[in-house]
């Protein structure tokens, strides 16, 4: 089967993010970038499904500037087979990304598309749902896994998504309030993945070296006939309020009183 995964180039969550003085965006100078962690989980899941269902292929797709090839390489170094970069330097909103992915998916015709449930930069959490809508495909969002991360299954690197015997559908457990909901979706489908689905593997140096030789195809919005003029405009970016100094309370009674009367949490 063919599995397509998406990887977004995002600011490294360990970088110190500062808002630009004009509040239009963040300061990008000196910021490190990496693959969106949820997307790494999607790639990992794709690799596990591929390895359990050979012959299969995993294609990593990114939308972004030329530098986003680095995040595709990261997926290739984890073990994906080839990459596609839809090159565009300017800001693309989630709808633009979804429309670009729709075209790529129509060309590639994968059986399954795995995406991170959201990107950790702007946390929109809509691209996967939009792609499913534009394609008219079924979708399962926030795919998770019942077992704990340290379970033997986890260590055995088994996929968390369950492919049916006839490979015509896939089962996904998704986290809902207070429990798990198990969905079965017909393939082809879009599945977005949550934090607890798996623990992505590290890319080893030999695999990083091998990934150098794997092909990355370059496409453009123009070539795909998609107008990516943003429909969503970022009006203002604000940093979270600075933390104010804490206080020391003399005893538990005062603490309880303050939590109740001032913080209003109990």
């Amino acid at each position: 089967m063919k599995i397509l995964t998406t990887v977004k180039r995002v600011e490294d969550y360990e970088s110190k993010i500062k808002v630009r003085p004009d509040q239009t965006w963040i300061v990008t100078e000196g910021v490190n970038y990496r693959a969106n962690p949820f997307d790494e989980i999607a790639v990992e899941e794709a690799l596990r499904l591929r390895d359990a269902n050979m012959p299969s292929e995993v294609v990593v797709v990114s939308v972004g500037p030329a530098a986003a090839a680095t995040e595709i390489r990261s997926g290739l170094a984890m073990g994906a087979d080839r990459g596609i970069l839809v090159k565009h330097d300017a800001f693309v909103d989630s709808d633009g990304v979804a429309r670009l992915l729709q075209k790529v998916i129509e060309q590639e015709k994968p059986d399954l598309v795995l995406m991170g449930k959201q990107a950790v930069d702007v946390d929109d959490n809509v691209a996967g749902q939009l792609v499913a809508e534009y394609l008219g495909w079924g979708q399962a969002t926030f795919a998770s896994k019942k077992e704990s991360l340290e379970s033997p299954e986890e260590k055995a690197k088994k996929p968390g998504l369950k492919l049916s015997a006839d490979k015509k559908s896939v089962q996904a457990a998704r986290e809902v309030d207070g429990g798990l909901e198990v969905l079965e979706v017909q393939l082809p489908a879009i599945v977005t993945v949550d934090l607890r689905l798996n623990v992505p593997r590290y890319a080893s140096l030999p695999n990083i070296m091998k990934a150098k030789k794997k092909p990355i195809q370059e496409l453009t919005p123009q070539g795909l006939s998609v107008d990516v003029t943003p429909k969503v405009k970022v009006l203002k970016v604000e940093p979270p309020p600075a933390r104010t100094a804490g206080i020391k309370v003399p005893d538990v009674a005062t603490l309880v009183q303050k939590l109740h009367a001032e913080a209003k949490v109990i």
Binding site: R34, T70, R73, S74, S204, L205, P206, I208, M209
Partner: protein, 381 residues
């Protein structure tokens, strides 16, 4: 070289290694220091990342990287906040094994190098002796040829990974006195007559096992000889360069981390109504150190560049170890001082670093030895 030639592959290796070190190693820093040892699995875990075989060719189980991948390894390991682990790993990957790759037979590479790079066998380098450190020409451990075996007698001191090494890249005297009588061989530690006499209690690098080893009529087959008989001295001297260089790289990265940690702490910790970093005395002190560290980094990168291109680099490597090692003593002192009382409790990384960094002017050749080497390479003395 105007900038270090880090490619996207180096960056990806760095990113993966950093995540691994921060996630799998750093949380255990204190625990492993207290235990006086770190788990064997650490070798295997790093081997899976290709970090032990980093710049070795794929044919011998290496990762096929270059020397700048070694630089990434030595730089990122410091994030473990455990110098003992870093030393054990670098001995395994860059100090005890390069000689086997350079002059070993295919059989020696298969039997010793490949399992070391896979993390299945732990390696140690056996050169120093109770009476001899950098003065390698005077080692006393002998290997006497008896039939198809060498019979080894003597002692080795300060051997990192020494209590649990599966093999030792061992310097022995096969010929007459002086540097012309020294050979190298691969020594499996299951040989009869070999004993770990003592695990040395050190000032720092507590999680690393350092040992005094005894050899009493140990027999190893002649096929374990590395290179030619009596020709070991030159290879030992060359090997020292790689050892000193990874020490310098790690020192620079370690200092950078100390100052960054100090700045972070100095922002959090206030005194008399303002954060410590807002006091000019600390600001100035820390930026002075950052300036010196930058100088140390470029001297070290210069040495790396020469070493990577196999150009003469002894002077630059000796200078970088001398400079970085001495500088580190001052940097750690001030960063610990900034931490005040917190800097004096061992759960704070800077407190442990204070003990650990003392090794930098001692191990792999003292600062005094570095100065003697540099003096010999500068005309006019």
């Amino acid at each position: 070289m105007i900038a270090p030639p880090f490619t996207p592959e180096h960056d990806l290796f760095r990113q993966n290694l950093r995540t691994y070190v921060e996630r799998e190693l750093a949380p255990h820093a204190l625990e492993w220091d207290e235990a006086g040892i770190f788990p064997r699995e650490v070798f295997r875990g790093l081997a899976e990342l290709g970090a032990l075989g980093v710049n070795y060719p794929e044919e011998v189980g290496g990762s096929g990287g270059d020397y700048w991948h070694v630089v990434v390894l030595a730089e990122e390991l410091v994030r473990s906040h455990n110098s003992g682990v870093n030393m054990g790993i670098l001995v395994q990957a860059q100090i005890a094994t390069p000689i086997i790759e350079e002059i070993g037979t295919a059989e020696q590479k298969r039997e010793f190098l490949a399992p070391a790079l896979a993390g299945d066998k732990i390696a140690a380098l056996g050169i120093s002796e109770p009476d001899t450190g950098s003065d390698v020409a005077n080692i006393k451990t002998t290997a006497r040829r008896v039939g198809d075996d060498y019979v080894i007698n003597g002692a080795k001191m300060w051997i990192t990974n020494g209590t649990r090494a599966d093999f030792i890249t061992l310097a022995v005297r096969t010929g007459g006195a002086g540097y012309g009588g020294i050979s190298l061989l691969t020594f499996p530690t299951d040989a009869k007559g070999f004993s770990v006499s003592k695990k040395l209690e050190k000032v720092g690098n507590l999680s690393s096992d350092t040992a005094l080893l005894f050899f009493e009529d140990c027999r190893v087959p002649v096929r374990y000889l590395l290179g030619e008989e009596d020709a070991g001295f030159y290879h030992i001297m060359t090997n020292f360069q790689g050892e000193r260089l990874v020490a310098s790289i790690g020192a620079v990265a370690g200092m950078q981390q100390m100052v960054e940690d100090a700045i972070r702490y100095g922002n959090e910790r206030g005194a008399f109504g303002k954060p410590l970093v807002k006091f000019q005395v600390w600001r100035h002190k820390l930026v002075e150190h950052l300036t010196s560290i930058e100088a140390a980094r470029w001297l070290t990168y210069r040495a790396c560049d020469l070493f990577a291109r196999k150009e003469p680099a002894v002077k630059e490597i000796s200078m970088s170890k001398l400079f970085a090692g001495d500088l580190m003593q001052r940097v750690v002192y001030d960063c610990m001082q900034l931490h005040g009382g917190m800097g004096y409790v061992v759960e704070t990384p800077i407190a442990r670093a204070f003990r650990d960094v003392r090794l930098l002017t001692i191990g792999g050749g003292t600062s005094e030895i570095m100065k003697e080497i540099i003096a010999k390479l500068v005309p006019g003395f």
